[in-house]
């Protein structure tokens, strides 16, 4: 595989892991505009472990997930006191505070960012991503997954039917944070670098956008969103390279992405991949087999 293709594939895999970190809270009805916060915690924790303490990746990646998960657990209680727009703003503020604190730790590189030498190759990144996808698919099939869906659809009714609302929300938020940490650990070791500037507010906005665009009803949504978000800009860039007449596509690929977001929200407000779509998809194959 060429360097270019494996680079895009690794980026796609990391985007999928980070997408699931926002998807899990969103599947329980919690909007998280602070993906960058957990990615930064995980990335800096894993980076510090390998670069400063010489820990192997097999230790650093789970440790990053645990660190981000622990912090997500602690902040979930105050953040769950807020609702609606306030929660969007609170998670956004949390990410900014995390960034601000990391910016002021000279041992971790400050504004210059953290460079590491340990490298997470494509097989490792793909392996971790596959594990994360399998974990989320399994989680949604458990009672907790069912409870998350109930809470997402209607908190009050879920409460009446005996869902432990607080438990479900804290679990969704904490697991999401942990996945964000794993994503950050992969990110820092794939690119050998992480900094607060590039993992900032725009990053959080992009993640939330492609998760909601993909759809929060099924575990396939974030994959669809990350695929679209990663491949459409790359594809437009390739087209612009191959055909000079279409040069304008190079600069305008994010305009196309933004317009696609607006249109998807108009035509498929629940996202590209919905439960109905998956049922139809399976139904299509079942009918074909019987025919």
């Amino acid at each position: 595989m060429s360097g270019y293709a494996s680079g895009v594939l690794a980026q796609l895999a990391i985007n999928i892991v980070i997408a699931y970190s926002v998807f899990l809270p969103a599947a329980a009805g919690l909007l998280n505009l602070g993906a960058a916060g957990f990615v930064l915690i995980g990335g800096y924790a894993a980076g510090a472990l390998t670069a400063k303490l010489g820990a192997p990746l097999a230790v650093a990646i789970p440790a990053a997930g645990l660190a981000a998960g622990a912090i997500a657990f602690l902040v979930s209680f105050p953040i769950l006191r807020t609702r609606g727009v306030y929660m969007v703003l609170a998670t956004f503020a949390f990410a900014e505070v995390v960034g601000g604190i990391l910016l002021n730790i000279p041992a971790l590189g400050g504004a210059a960012g953290l460079s590491v030498s340990a490298y997470a190759g494509l097989p490792l990144v793909l392996g971790v991503t596959a594990a994360v996808v399998a974990f989320v698919a399994w989680l949604l099939a458990t009672r907790l997954g069912l409870a998350m869906r109930a809470v997402h659809d209607d908190e009050n009714v879920a409460l009446l039917f005996g869902c432990h609302l607080r438990l479900v929300q804290v679990a969704a938020f904490t697991l999401g944070g942990a996945l964000g940490g794993v994503g950050g650990a992969l990110l820092v070791h794939q690119f050998n670098f992480i900094d607060v500037q590039t993992t900032g507010i725009v990053f959080s906005i992009f993640v939330l956008l492609y998760v909601l665009m993909g759809g929060t009803q099924t575990a396939w949504g974030p994959i669809a969103g990350a695929l679209f978000f990663t491949l459409v800009p790359e594809g437009l860039r390739r087209v612009a390279e191959l055909a000079p007449a279409l040069k304008f596509l190079e600069g305008s690929r994010y305009i196309v992405f933004g317009a696609a977001v607006v249109l998807v929200m108009m035509w498929r407000p629940e996202g590209l991949v919905t439960r109905t779509l998956m049922d139809r998809f399976y139904g299509f194959f079942v009918r074909r087999n019987h025919a």
């Binding site: 727009v85 960034g99 601000g100 725009v202 305008s252």
Partner: protein, 304 residues
Amino acid sequence: MQTLQQIVNGLMLGGILSFVAVGFTLTIGMLNFLNFTIPALFMLAAMTMWALGTAGAHPFGVGMNWIAAAAIGIAVAVAASLLIERFTYRYMKARYGDATEHALPLVSSLGFLLIFEHLVITLWGTEAQRVDLPFADTDLRLAGLVVGIPQLVSLLLSFVLVWLLSTLLVHTRTGRALRAIAENPDAATLMGVEVNRIVPVVFVIAGSLAALAGILYAASYRTVSPYIGDGVAADAIAGMVLGGLGNVWGAIAGGLLVGMVKVFAISSFGAEIEKIPVWGLLLAILIFRPTGIFGHTKIGKGKF
């Protein structure tokens, strides 16, 4: 003297922030919609003014009179704001019932933020550009204090405009319709308020506030770039929350407070630390007093 100058600087920065914060708080108070396109409108007006006013800016560099360029900048931003209304708030409203129960307008507005930012980048590149205004010096010196005229204007203008807005809201027919929509859009429709005609008014007001702020920003800092809106809007959101969502006077107070906190944090601890006090304060307010310093409780309680 040093401290006094810092207070003045904080108020000057806060003047622009409170302008943008009023735009945010109006859309959220009236329509329960966190409008993330405001930074794009802020930037669009400033960049349009720069491009039209600078001879040789490619494209559209015609070296136009600066006042006319500013007016066109505001007009472009208002037109963009109406386009945004058409594809975010109105569409959701018409087809999916209570738009406040959906994340859709929020998400679509983030999409529009991307569209406009990258449109400007495609046209004029990502570099920061100098704004060569013909006025030699926009600073006023009063008893040893340096006061920026554009910031002073924006501070005074924000007071005047907010006073005007609150008067219009109470005393005109459109104002009454707007308050009815803020209370309950469905009930307002039943009472004969044409929601699709009245809601664009909010977008025109919010768009022109953001555009004016962008132009005053360009005039006082003499520099524009496609990214100027992001930082200002983030601080303005912090100011809006401090003042309480939907409270216009609170937005002004919150904007000024954020300006002060930023200036004092930078002058006492350096530029790298400024995020922590502003966002820490915002996080604390959201958790312990989510209605803000003087807010009311009803707004933003929808699911998203």
